[in-house]
């Protein structure tokens, strides 16, 4: 009867990632010029962690006095987080060197924030959600300001930090009210006794504040205001990580708490639908007028949060599963898109506007083709995964009698085609002089546009994942459907 080891094994992804983070921490503390070592250790460790996460999907149950769930849902999500972290780490290497911020702490912070995300997805208790959320957020505040000599990065870190802490206050107040009205912070207990508890307006207020906290993290209108500024100012690969890993983690927690067949929860459904509609409309429309690509992707990420919220508003199996599928495909397309931006970006915020991408199709045909795939997938054009993800969510909405929401979704998708395809048009149908070679020749700096094979491989894999998910969504859907 060795209970403790069994529990540790059951939450192996968390255990392992913690160990990995600590190892990298020690490396950072003890070694000089540790960046390369940290990078290598992180990549290898994350790969192992990914395998183990995938391996624990079949487990069920809870661990640590019902603080954590085991396997299943959490493992699927932690695989997703690890993938996001892995892609980000690999893509960041070039970027960090180029921006002269190649410090090993970067990888450490990514690992710790991934750990926070995992805690959120494995949580069975509101306390764990809170801890995970904070662990993730604090690391991301630092990452946002990682280019500490640059004003934009400072500003984005400060905005993210202040608003994030502000939102934490509300989230925490929500948890306190839920705790006060139900006497527990255990999620499944609250869900099971919801019908008796729901007469208390404290509980509703607590749920409302909790919802606001999550809505802030996923970037739903009107809690989205930080997203454009933070994504624009942060290091580009970090923006990619925030828009995928952090968003997915927030959705994981959102789904854990809110994706249950609550009784008399019509009001909840109304709130979620309104958030979804507002996010889709505002995100897509404001994205049109952007000229900075990072900012465009930021507004697009607001819009995508709206699409995913439809799944929550629909409040049926299909909607909840749709969110998972959406997140998985979204991770690949957005990390890919931000990845390409990071590869082509030059010092002093250059090469980040639509105009800069003119003529890329003839200069870097492969890169342009990959970018087109990511854009088409974001726009939801078949056969890429983005289309199917939207389709699935819309069908869920129609099944839940939220046809109006599905219609808004379809119309705003049409709007979104404009600004995604604008980039494709730029790359292929406009002549332009994208400066691909670094002007200042510092002997020590690497040749920036001799792209490393690893980065190209990562981007190619993302593109293939999108095609594979678009053509054979069943592969992932069967896993998702067997989770519950």
């Amino acid at each position: 009867m060795s209970i403790v080891p069994a529990e540790l094994v059951a939450i192996a992804p968390i255990t392992l990632l913690t160990a990995l983070s600590l190892i990298v921490l020690v490396i950072e503390a003890l070694m000089k010029q540790s960046e390369g070592v940290s990078y290598a250790v992180s990549v290898v460790g994350l790969v192992i962690c990914l395998l183990i996460s995938l391996g624990t999907i079949d487990l069920t149950g809870t661990a640590f006095n019902q603080m954590l769930t085991v396997g299943g849902y959490g493992s699927l999500f932690s695989s997703l987080f690890v993938i996001a972290a892995l892609l980000t780490v690999i893509l960041s290497r070039d970027y960090l060197q180029k921006e002269h911020i190649n410090f090993g702490e970067f990888y450490l912070l990514i690992l710790f924030s991934t750990l926070g995300m995992m805690l959120m997805a494995y949580a069975a208790d509101l306390i764990i959600i809170f801890l995970g959320l904070e662990l993730m957020s604090i690391c991301l505040y630092v990452l946002a300001g990682f280019m500490r000599k640059r004003l934009l990065s400072n500003e984005s870190a400060l905005k993210y930090f202040l608003l994030g802490a502000f939102a934490t206050g509300f989230l925490l107040y929500g948890i306190a009210l839920i705790y006060g009205s139900s006497g527990t912070t255990n999620i499944s207990y609250i869900v099971q006794n919801f019908s008796t508890l729901s007469s208390s307006s404290w509980l509703w207020m607590g749920l409302g504040l909790l919802l606001v906290g999550f809505a802030f993290k996923v970037g739903a209108v009107p809690f989205h205001m930080w997203i454009p500024d933070v994504y624009q100012g942060s290091p580009t690969t970090v923006s990619g990580f925030m828009s995928t890993g952090a968003k997915a983690a927030a959705f994981a927690a959102f789904v854990l708490v809110f994706a249950h067949p609550f009784e008399n929860a019509e009001k909840l459904k109304t709130v979620l639908s309104l958030l979804a509609a507002a996010s889709m409309i505002l995100g897509n429309i404001v994205a049109i007028a952007q000229s900075n690509l990072k900012r465009m992707l930021a507004y697009s990420s607001v819009a995508h949060a709206g699409y995913m919220l439809i799944g929550l508003a629909a409040a049926n199996e299909m909607g909840w599963n749709g969110i998972l599928f959406y997140l998985i495909s979204y991770t690949f397309m957005n990390i890919g898109a931000f990845g390409i931006l990071s590869l082509l970006e030059r010092e002093e915020e250059k090469n980040l506007t639509y105009d800069d991408y003119a003529g890329l199709g003839s200069k870097r045909p492969f890169l342009a083709a990959l970018m087109s795939i990511f854009m088409l997938s974001l726009a939801g054009i078949p056969p890429f995964a983005g289309f199917f993800a939207k389709y699935y969510i819309f069908v869920a909405a129609i099944n839940a009698n939220l046809t109006w929401l599905a219609i808004i979704g379809v119309l705003t998708s049409v709007v979104s085609v404009y600004y995604y395809l604008r980039l494709v048009v730029m790359m292929y149908f406009q002549e332009g002089e994208m400066v691909l070679v670094e002007a200042t020749s510092k002997a020590s700096s690497p040749k920036f546009f001799e792209l490393r094979r690893a980065s190209m491989a990562v981007l190619t894999i993302s593109a293939f994942a999108l095609i594979e998910l678009g053509i054979y969504p069943s592969t992932i859907l069967t896993i998702i459907n067997n989770l519950r």
Partner: protein
């Protein structure tokens, strides 16, 4: 003799929380804004402890410990961010930190 009831604690907590929110919305100095956020967190702590005592269950108090730890970590990171910004811009006035907009 009647002691102080739960709702007294909660009322105080709500008042402190509101003061914190208003402070965040109105103050211009980043450090003071941050202090107001801390005030919000601590007012919630007060609620948690009160609930915990009233319900006779320790969960709330344990959560308070975590919150304090988290707040400390946040403070460290937050101050570091503000210092980095001050070095580059020589100001901590939030109104002036608006390069990125629209």
């Amino acid at each position: 003799m009647t002691g102080i009831a739960l709702h007294h604690y909660l009322a105080l907590s709500a008042i402190l929380f509101t003061i914190g929110v208003v402070g965040v919305l109105t103050r211009r100095n980043a450090i003071i804004v941050f202090m107001c956020v801390e005030l919000m967190l601590n007012s919630v702590n007060l609620s948690l402890v009160a609930f915990s005592a009233y319900l006779g269950n320790p969960t709330g108090q344990i959560l308070v410990f975590f919150v304090m730890t988290v707040a400390a970590a946040e403070a460290a990171v937050g101050l570091a961010i503000i210092i980095a910004l001050f070095r580059n811009k020589q100001t901590v006035n939030i109104d002036e930190i608006n390069i990125m907009k629209w």
